[in-house]
């Protein structure tokens, strides 16, 4: 991907995620820009991450509470939240990143902003701290539906 306005790129991804959540989970999600861009040390976070390779590399992430992940994955799979294992949540969040990125990749193919996907991965735990290079060009969105709050971030790396 070239250095397209990162806010515009962020909109592509959040549009894709909204569509995925609407069609697969039945959620109508609104999105707003974040007040601050740091990965915060929220308790019990689960974060799905993918690195994108293009003319300019980028990293995208979706972070949420375990309870939000359980709700989203339950609606997507039809499995009750209490029957989902931790492993299901990790796989589900990584897959959500994969679906979102795949949809944007298709939309941007044959444009100067095309990019390659890599394998998504999830990390989870308590007091999670994720660090990257400082002073990156980045954008952030909160996607909300009721008590559900998912944070999307993208940074050129």
């Amino acid at each position: 991907m070239t250095s397209m306005d990162i806010e515009k790129i962020a909109d592509y991804f959040t549009d894709s995620l909204r569509q995925v959540l609407r069609t697969m989970a039945g959620f109508e999600v609104s999105n707003t820009s974040c007040d601050q861009l740091d990965f915060s040390d929220k308790e019990s976070n689960i974060i799905g991450i993918m690195v994108l390779h293009g003319k300019k590399d980028a990293v995208i992430s979706l972070s949420m509470e375990y309870s939000t992940a359980a709700m989203v994955i339950a609606y997507m799979t039809g499995i009750l939240p209490e029957e989902l294992s931790e492993s299901d949540l990790f796989d589900g969040v990584a897959e959500l990143v994969n679906i979102m990125a795949g949809e944007v990749k298709a939309r941007l193919s044959n444009t100067p902003y095309h990019f390659l996907l890599t394998s998504p991965f999830s990390i989870g735990g308590t007091s999670l701290k994720v660090a990257r290079k400082k002073n990156l060009t980045e954008a952030c969105r909160h996607l909300k539906a009721g008590e559900m709050d998912i944070t999307f971030r993208i940074a050129y790396i």
């Binding site: 897959e95 998504p120 991965f121």
Partner: protein, 158 residues
């Protein structure tokens, strides 16, 4: 070639740690398949690379080793692995190890691999899950704590 794609990262890890820190890593001579999720030992860093194939390297250290690496390289006395400089140092070690290994792979096999900057993380009971991709791990011991590398190539080692 296939096993080289994995072993070269262990060799680079041992060489770089020895060169930069004068620290010997005991072990790290064999590779074992990592079943499912990876439980972080303290500080973990992931770097991805893409070219004719795509892959990634995870370096995972116990807190004592991460602190020793940062304190020795930076000449400081950090005592918290969440310190940004500690995390950045571990991240940079991953960058250097991966750069060394990837350069050798590019020279030997024309893989045209390109590195993305690493991501580093820490926390309590951290689990790393990489679905749909099999990986191999190699473990080593130092005087300051354990270190593990985990290598994965999309499409496995075929």
């Amino acid at each position: 070639m296939d096993i080289d794609l994995y072993q070269i990262f262990g060799t680079s890890t041992k060489n770089i740690i020895k060169e930069m820190l004068d620290l010997d890593i005991k072990g790290m001579d064999s590779l074992k398949e990592e079943p499912g999720e990876i439980h972080s030992m303290g500080v973990s860093s992931i770097i991805t690379f893409a070219g004719t194939r795509k892959g990634r390297l995870l370096i995972d250290m116990e807190p004592g080793l991460a602190l020793y690496v940062a304190n020795t390289l930076l000449g400081e006395e950090y005592d918290n692995i969440k310190n940004q400089m500690v995390l950045s140092t571990v991240s940079e070690i991953n960058n250097i190890v991966s750069g060394d290994a990837v350069t050798q792979l590019n020279n030997s096999y024309s893989m045209r691999l390109r590195l993305a900057p690493p991501i580093v993380f820490t926390g309590q009971d951290v689990i790393i899950s990489i679905p749909k991709i099999s990986s191999l791990s190699s473990w080593g011991d130092t005087d300051y704590g354990r270190i593990r590398i985990n290598i994965a190539w999309e499409g496995g080692n075929s």
